[in-house]
């Protein structure tokens, strides 16, 4: 297997864009990415696209050739990957594997979602399709409800508090305020976060990520060719995708995401590192509790200690291990299918040292964790300076 490098990144702003359609967002991100690597579309050998629910959100399916054709990427395999909120993380996993295996040299990986053309109740219904519709869905358990159950159980089992959940939101909003491409650039106080409108007890509106439009793209190639495209290549040191049951009631323990733990162990092994070596991370904070659980499942802290870890400020921008310096899904926004690749972009930006106001101090080795549904898909990627 060959070492694989990220040699180009591109993102649209995340937000609610009434005047933009799905394809134009994906094309903007893709072309920005190719421009970043100074590569013409005709050189791309395969296009991997992550999209969760374009057909349901905007009525358009068959999205990979639809977007590729509009970018001038032609005559090559163009494929859409769907793995709920981990759709583009999964696309990236498969793309990296294909380059590592020597199938292609130059692969463009995109992620896109256009969500805001639907009402919030409709968006919630579409998102519920990432859970078990015959069980959870029939019972009316939408995603805020599922993650509220996870939060309640975590509180019961480990003493996690509302303040600790809120600390995730406060931190991520503070980071997102520094990110010019973030959806909600708004600093919030602990008091605000605690007194947010209730969504599903114990989660308030400040515990939930945003409904956003947006796209992201990365260009990958074998490390040995990286210097043709960039002076700052970033290496994929480790990557793994794994799965678990979709329905919460089929899991042994809902306070942990088994797939995340397994993917992390595989990725650490591939990279030859341990959790302690990870300097910063972009984690899948679809809900505040999800970031807390992720810090535990990734081995950053002991099981049950994720709450104190964030409340003590250890994961803030200038803490020992900054988490979601981009603002995370909470403040940067969560256009579902774009999130996995957007995380890769944000980690690459930090490793390059180009993150501006939100640059973290130690930025040689970063991790991205992308979660599908309530944990049925997990992709963990470790990226490092070349």
């Amino acid at each position: 297997m060959r070492a694989v490098a990220v040699v180009g990144i591109g993102k649209t702003a995340f937000g609610a864009f009434a005047d933009r359609d799905l394809r134009s967002l994906a094309v903007e991100a893709g072309l920005a990415c190719l421009a970043d690597a100074n590569v013409s579309p005709s050189k791309v050998e395969a296009f991997y696209l992550g999209n969760f629910a374009g057909p349901s959100f905007v009525g358009q399916n068959h999205l990979a050739p639809y977007i590729a054709g509009a970018m001038g990427v032609e005559h090559v395999p163009c494929t859409r990957f769907e793995a709920a909120c981990a759709s583009s993380g999964s696309a990236f996993f498969h793309a990296v594997a294909s380059v590592a295996a020597g199938m292609y040299d130059l692969v463009l990986v995109g992620g896109v979602e256009k969500m805001t053309s639907q009402t919030t109740p409709k968006v919630t219904e579409i998102l519920a399709g990432a859970g078990d519709m015959m069980g959870e869905g029939r019972a009316g358990a939408t995603f805020p409800a599922l993650f509220a159950m996870i939060a309640r159980r975590h509180m019961h089992q480990y003493g996690t508090t509302r303040e600790q959940l809120a600390a995730v939101a406060v931190k991520n909003h503070a980071n997102g305020a520094k990110n010019p491409q973030a959806h909600m650039r708004k600093i919030i106080t602990m008091e605000q976060a605690l007194n947010g409108k209730p969504i599903s007890e114990p989660l308030t509106v400040y515990d939930c990520s945003l409904i956003s439009d947006g796209a992201a793209a990365v260009l990958i190639c074998p490390l040995e060719r990286a210097s043709e495209f960039t002076s700052k290549p970033v290496v994929v040191k480790g990557i793994a995708q794994t799965s678990d049951h979709v329905a919460l009631d089929e899991k042994d323990d809902i306070t942990t995401f088994r797939a995340v733990k397994e993917a992390a162990q595989k990725a650490y092994k591939m990279a030859g590192i341990t959790a302690a070596d990870v300097q910063f991370a972009e984690l899948h904070d679809c809900f505040t509790i999800a970031e807390i659980v992720a810090t535990e499942d990734l081995g950053f802290v002991e099981k049950g200690s994720g709450g104190p870890y964030v409340l003590e400020g250890r994961t803030c921008l200038h803490g020992a291990r900054p988490i979601n310096s981009s603002g995370g899904l909470k403040s940067k926004g969560h256009p579902v299918g774009a999130t996995g690749v957007a995380q890769i972009c944000d980690v690459v930006l930090q490793i390059r040292g180009d993150a501006g106001e939100r640059q973290v101090a130690r930025h040689d080795l970063g991790l991205a964790q992308n979660l599908g549904g309530s944990g049925a898909t997990a992709v963990v990627t470790i990226l490092g300076a070349a």
Copy 2:
């Protein structure tokens, strides 16, 4: 790259099954496939699933782990691929590449669609999402209309006749009548086919494939390990996926599918053969004209001669090169996401010599061609005896 073999196949019957849900169909096919190779689910190293529009047809997304979990395939990457009607052809392409590259040894590839729980107008609307909804869709051009335009142009340019189109339907129904798993086991006459209810001129109901429920699965591994699982391994001699524009009006010539031509050339080159060597084929007859165009694009006949080719009986079960001995999408049925893998199953069955009443005479080298939308995705696979 390692040689890859198909060592297990499994299919549900295709039909309209009011009492079956999507997951149970996929699980039935997957477990039948594993049983065929005498492999336990826990040995599967990755699950690749093709599904076009589960979220739109039945409201369930995140289908790969959803189905895998119910089969006992756990702790491994489970990924859904969507490429319109070529969804499971694409999943198979990516799975074969991953085994060829040495990433995994034992990969299960599934395809599934559950369509009949929606009304025909709603199905037609969902299928339209495989075309360009901002252009074709807005103009009301559903798939029968798009393929009617292709047929009209082919008639105009090459003198193709209604009789030649109807000959595809007559042949495929005759074959499907011999297939116990086919959706519509009904022999039709040329007169019936010509006088079918008009759908979109010049296409009648007999020119259109069926709206079906069903699932299919294949198990692949490196050829060097095939004997552990079967006494009749079938080798993937060549395979390619490629893309074209989604919208018909963006194509130079609508009487040909550029992506099919390109994929075929790549697959022939990989297999070290020419079109003349292909003994039999399963082609994507979503509409009768599509089979005629495919025989031309694959190089079985000169451009424009696909009509006479079928009318002369050259592609019937005991003709020189039998096409769609399974009954094709026309009679076997077309559960969209299952079709690509079902074609592989049918070619493998022939190569094994296990096709019973519909067994073709020369069965050492077969081809499967899976088409997405009106040609924006094409997957061509060449399979042969080991």
